[in-house]
């Protein structure tokens, strides 16, 4: 009996030893890489922001001046929308909104929309999506420059009915074999503009959230 117990104990200790070695190895590597990984994540966020808003137009730490809003009426879902506030010498210059639309063909499409304080779009990018490769992916800048068609647009340019894909009577082209994807993007951008025109002032006033948690872009 005792020899069985001793045997079991030996096995348990050995297994624990392997676990301890593995865990301490990981703890070491984590400590070594943590700072670099945070840097990399910050770099990715800033690179994406700079794609929609030229870095010369603001002088604050754009990726840190951020608030989160939820508004089911304006966006059609209650998922968090991140709003980055660009300022030049303290004056409000532009907002960059990071939001999802669930109206795509397959899952969420995540968008960045930058709007200057006069209501004009500085840029739009799709930063992640699961649309069909080859059909829905011309919303990516790497595949086509369709997304650049939003540059310089605003709520009155085109007017309300124009904010749709051509098949629905609007001015934005759809892709061969894929109407759902561009329709979802156009609708989401229009919603952002409407939200912006109603809430522009307060969006710049709200205190920025503490960084360091919920870093998901």
């Amino acid at each position: 009996m005792t020899s069985v117990a001793a045997n079991m104990l030996r096995s348990a200790v050995l297994l624990a030893l392997v676990a301890v070695i593995g865990t301490s190895l990981l703890a070491g590597i984590h400590a070594l890489t943590r700072e670099r990984i945070e840097d990399q994540e910050r770099r990715v966020v800033l690179e994406q922001l700079n794609q929609v808003l030229p870095p010369g137009e603001y002088d604050n730490a754009l990726h840190e001046d951020v608030i989160e809003i939820r508004d089911i009426v304006s966006f059609g879902h209650d998922k968090a929308v991140r709003v980055y506030r660009a300022r030049l010498q303290g004056r409000p210059m532009a907002l960059v909104m990071n939001l999802v639309t669930a109206d795509g063909y397959n899952g969420d499409i995540r968008l960045l929309v930058a709007i200057r304080e006069d209501g004009e779009i500085a840029g739009v990018r799709v930063i992640s999506h699961h649309e069909t490769p080859g059909l829905g992916d011309p919303v990516e800048l790497e595949r086509s420059d369709w997304i650049l068609g939003f540059n310089g647009r605003s709520l009155n340019n085109p007017t309300d009915l124009g904010w749709a894909v051509q098949r629905d009577g609007g001015i934005f082209s759809q892709f061969t074999g894929a109407t759902v994807t561009p329709r979802a993007v156009v609708e989401a951008v229009q919603r952002v503009l409407q939200y912006f025109s109603k809430n522009q002032e307060i969006l710049f006033e709200l205190p920025a959230i503490e960084e360091g948690h919920d870093q998901n872009p």
């Binding site: 392997v18 070695i21 593995g22 990981l26 069909t132």
Partner: protein
């Protein structure tokens, strides 16, 4: 204890005779999922290779210590630690590639080829042969991923080495080759069915080659029996 085979035999087994992707057919989930382009295949292939080498080496070093009843949980612990370490390192130094391969890196843990080599080879052999076995098996897997990636990228997009900058930095931009100019894109090859069809073709090609070689050896043996020993 079985006799350790020669290093050359270990190498050829991992690379060709027991190729994980084409003969043993293990680890097919990542193989089929990431091979849309050469670079994605290469990235996951190298990560798998490093994991195999590290896990084989650790298992071989610990083989005297690990008793039969705890060996499987110990392998799982070792492999999971190695993969997590690799994931952290990749996140720190190859962040853009990590963002593409992201969800497939943790899945390396579930690649049965790795625990298979730990159990079948590393636990019974010296560290050096175990390391060579990990390298050869990983290389065989990696080459399969790259081949399948190339096949799908050429037919699907008409290019090779797209997105190479994710792995090689600014150097990679010049690597991209347009194989078929103005390729309209062939969806089937990019989507998952293309992976199954491509893998099927690769396996068939390997079998055909193997059969042809066996035949020519046979013919040679008949012609001059003493030439083959």
């Amino acid at each position: 204890m079985t006799r350790t085979p020669e290093l050359k035999t270990i190498f050829m087994d991992g690379l060709w005779h027991q190729n994980t992707g084409l003969v043993v057919l293990l680890g097919l989930c990542p193989l089929l999922a990431v091979t849309g382009t050469v670079i994605n295949g290469l990235g996951l292939g190298l990560a798998t290779m490093l994991t195999l080498m590290a896990s084989n080496l650790s298992v071989s070093l610990l083989r005297g210590l690990l008793r039969p009843e705890i060996r499987i949980p110990a392998y799982v612990l070792i492999i999971a630690s190695v993969v997590t370490a690799l994931e952290l390192l990749m996140q720190a130094w190859m962040h853009d590639l990590y963002r593409i391969l992201g969800i497939f890196i943790p899945l390396i843990v579930t690649n049965c080829a790795i625990i298979g080599r730990a159990e079948a080879f590393a636990s019974r052999n010296q560290p050096v042969p175990a390391l060579v076995d990990g390298f050869a098996t990983g290389l065989g897997f990696c080459l399969t991923l790259v081949l399948l990636g190339a096949l799908r990228e050429i037919t699907g997009r008409g290019a090779l080495f797209a997105d190479a900058h994710l792995m090689f930095g600014s150097l990679g931009d010049k690597l991209t080759i347009t194989v078929i100019p103005d390729h309209p894109g062939f969806l089937l090859a990019i989507l998952p069915p293309g992976a199954f069809i491509g893998l099927g073709l690769l396996i068939a090609a390997r079998n055909w080659w193997q059969a042809r070689r066996a035949e020519s050896v046979h013919v040679a043996a008949v012609a001059s029996p003493q030439a083959v020993t």
